[in-house]
Amino acid sequence: MEHIRFILIQNRAGKTRLAKWYMQFDDDEKQKLIEEVHAVVTVRDAKHTNFVEVISVADSLSVLQFRNFKIIYRRYAGLYFCICVDVNDNNLAYLEAIHNFVEVLNEYFHNVCELDLVFNFYKVYTVVDEMFLAGEIRETSQTKVLKQLLMLQSLE
């Protein structure tokens, strides 16, 4: 049963800017995963792939070792957008799902920056839920997502 286990947005210093979990983890496990993802992702550069298999990574990911998982990530300036999926999942589909999501954020916040994610966190969660739900891709049309987001904004 493949699906997204979590979505993480972190900055280079390792501060979490968004964490959405699609699987039960306790708080300690979440913290370990956040640290582990930061450690494996930040050491990579443009010559590396955008995929990290977590199979060989230290024990703290052992909560995930029941089966193997991988992190698909993309860096936008100082922010890392990471999606954790099953090893068998389609890498490029999730890589572009990240970009699609970032384009929506950019449109919605008019030139999005890290601070928008911090202070408008509740809106970011809404964007996530429009595009990903229950660990699955829910809606991919940027037009439809933005239309819905503007409708919700008009209710505020």
Partner: protein
Amino acid sequence: MLVQFFQRTHYSLLLLGKSKEAEIKRINKELANIRSKFKGDKALDGYSKKKYVCKLLFIFLLGHDIDFGHMEAVNLLSSNRYTEKQIGYLFISVLVNSNSELIRLINNAIKNDLASRNPTFMGLALHCIASVGSREMAEAFAGEIPKVLVAGDTMDSVKQSAALCLLRLYRTSPDLVPMGDWTSRVVHLLNDQHLGVVTAATSLITTLAQKNPEEFKTSVSLAVSRLSRIVTSASTDLQDYTYYFVPAPWLSVKLLRLLQCYPPPEDPAVRGRLTECLETILNKAQEPPKSKKVQHSNAKNAVLFEAISLIIHHDSEPNLLVRACNQLGQFLQHRETNLRYLALESMCTLASSEFSHEAVKTHIETVINALKTERDVSVRQRAVDLLYAMCDRSNAPQIVAEMLSYLETADYSIREEIVLKVAILAEKYAVDYTWYVDTILNLIRIAGDYVSEEVWYRVIQIVINRDDVQGYAAKTVFEALQAPACHENLVKVGGYILGEFGNLIAGDPRSSPLIQFNLLHSKFHLCSVPTRALLLSTYIKFVNLFPEVKPTIQDVLRSDSQLRNADVELQQRAVEYLRLSTVASTDILATVLEEMPPFPERESSILAKLKKKKGPSTVTDLEDTKRERSVDVNGGPEPAPASTSAMSTPSPSADLLGLGAAPPAPAGPPPSSGGGGLLVDVFSDSASVVAPLAPGSEDNFARFVCKNNGVLFENQLLQIGLKSEFRQNLGRMFIFYGNKTSTQFLNFTPTLICSDELQPNLNLQTKPVDPTVEGGAQVQQVVNIECVSDFTEAPVLNIQFRYGGTFQNVSVQLPITLNKFFQPTEMASQDFFQRWKQLSNPQQEVQNIFKAKHPMDTEVTKAKIIGFGSALLEEVDPNPANFVGAGIIHTKTTQIGCLLRLEPNLQAQMYRLTLRTSKEAVSQRLCELLSAQF
């Protein structure tokens, strides 16, 4: 460029993280303020309540604990304003609390919103269920959501959310999602006009189809026709679902994944249409790109790779397989690292298809080049995997040579795996065993530290089993040992082989017995205790092989550094070997120390290790099953394919105990078959005897029948804790070994043992733990469990280690019991008694009448029955004092329905327990297990 948007630095953001103390101070002040607002006499209006709940959330997301505000958040759920409701739901989703009172209130609010017919509110409610996905929510809403999903007047966006919400509930509580009329209507959502609805529905259908393929079979033709419409559409047809000129890439990927739940379509028309789709996708890959943007090529290739996965999954169209292989071949030299990586990965699976194996082999040079030039270790790792997968007899010498040369510079993280792969390939494709011996010795020379015990045990097994290579092996190790600095593993192999076959080269004056002995002994002082122990055994074997060096060896054994060695093991060996050499006649010596008999052939221990390392699914057995069926290295029949049980290291001592799974072989040479009592004692350094069960183990075992977590065993040195979870026929157990002392445990070896009877019914998989456990440290081991068929016995966990100078050996029963694979089933009174009557055959019922061992408390009893795994059915039994339960035991082979009834008799302090299932052994076992609980 988007990249820049995140780049603007914000002063206030820096301030936030400026000083930890300042931040904490500010936050504590804010928390105190919010608390006083919530506690104040004045009722807060909705806006303020929202404002403060939102602040709390913000503080929580900054990483601070929040222990209040839950009630206020729940209150927000019943607001009629979107913003207030949204913040309330978000708080619940992020900070979910299983406080039962709140859950009831939350569920109530969700219920109201679901019934509101307001699509925005329905969406919020559904997203909350999909985020939390708890069992309580499944109980409350699993029946309702399918109705929302298929109702004619439901808005598209609500349908999308409902489909995925239902998927989440099905994942967490499949037993609570009732199949019914709605399933066929869900399949038809694949035809929906709204592509967003199709996208969401496809995920739901895929998951349901994996579990109930028959019921969702009609989805195949619908998915094919939907896919066909997408791939043949012009890039503008799908409007907002076209992403960088690629029509609906994510939906295409999902549809192709759905099709991978099924074999190739039987209907020729559907099959033809699908083949056309796949050809179109392959053709498009050859067309010039419609955009230079990476988004375009990524989206296009996402679909392409998924199509190739489907082609490989079907493994039935040689033409498509070869085309796929050629396409991937182009990607191997692409400038995008991602594509090179994915091509290597995908080709690895193509290599295992008989149709494309040869086509994959043509890319060998490119792959070898990747091994040498790629900057990303994960790409090189894929190259190693692919070389391993494409290896056969024709290219084995080249591939093994390349891997060996890569090993010289390979990253530490993947060395051990490469060593294992080289060892396996060398063994598997050896025509000439001198090549095999050279390869393994090279391995030890280049990467001695990464050569695990399995590898050097194996070379010894093979040399012992093949007499045509023994002389060569003796000569080669003798030469290799000439190097001034050689790896300790070489000393082990050399010592062992010369001890057995040194006589084959003793005729050459350059390798006379004395020279052999002096050579080995010159390494002795540099070696660790286990290697020294092994060398002492070699020396006593020399006493038998070469009477002329007996006095020299006796002198060595007699020296203070041996006879008075601080290590008990070495001292004992020296004393006993010296005595043996003095008192035993030549005949007795010859019998005791005769050449090792051939090892019984089983699955290569190295292959088992690689499987353990990578997981069974990633090591393809194709070679064993298809092409290489006739290969057998040791002249014996090949072992049964891939026993997945834990720790199947073929130590020769295992069979002596009659246990299916064996502990790893001891560090010294295995006992010689003619060994007699004396030597057995000497050699039983560790691991060959399993301790009887620890006292109290039975009691502890019983405590775990109705629960999954806790302390299983504890003595003054060691604590063993368990945490486990089970779903259907699968389970996962975390075993925590805590060293309670301040001293290291050495050679720490936990072993799972399934009896012969248990082994076919229960699969356990685990990885070895680090052999050293530091004082005060805890190590963790994960055991993956699969129940194949019903079983009675429990596996035994045997732990051996050295503490100080003493050898510790502990065995406990591991509480993996049949009831762990229970899924509760709710049913009405009428159904229960109908089924009860159907199971009235005397073999199906087992009854036990027993005295209560614990106070007879209704609530405790209920909790135990639920903990046991069955559903507790209220208002079923006409006598309200009785307890009735029902559930299904899931095994890989079958599912067994179980009914139970417990009748307490308070006056007599007795219980009567009755179990009815379709299988006598199951009724018997469940009755036994549950009776012990009251």
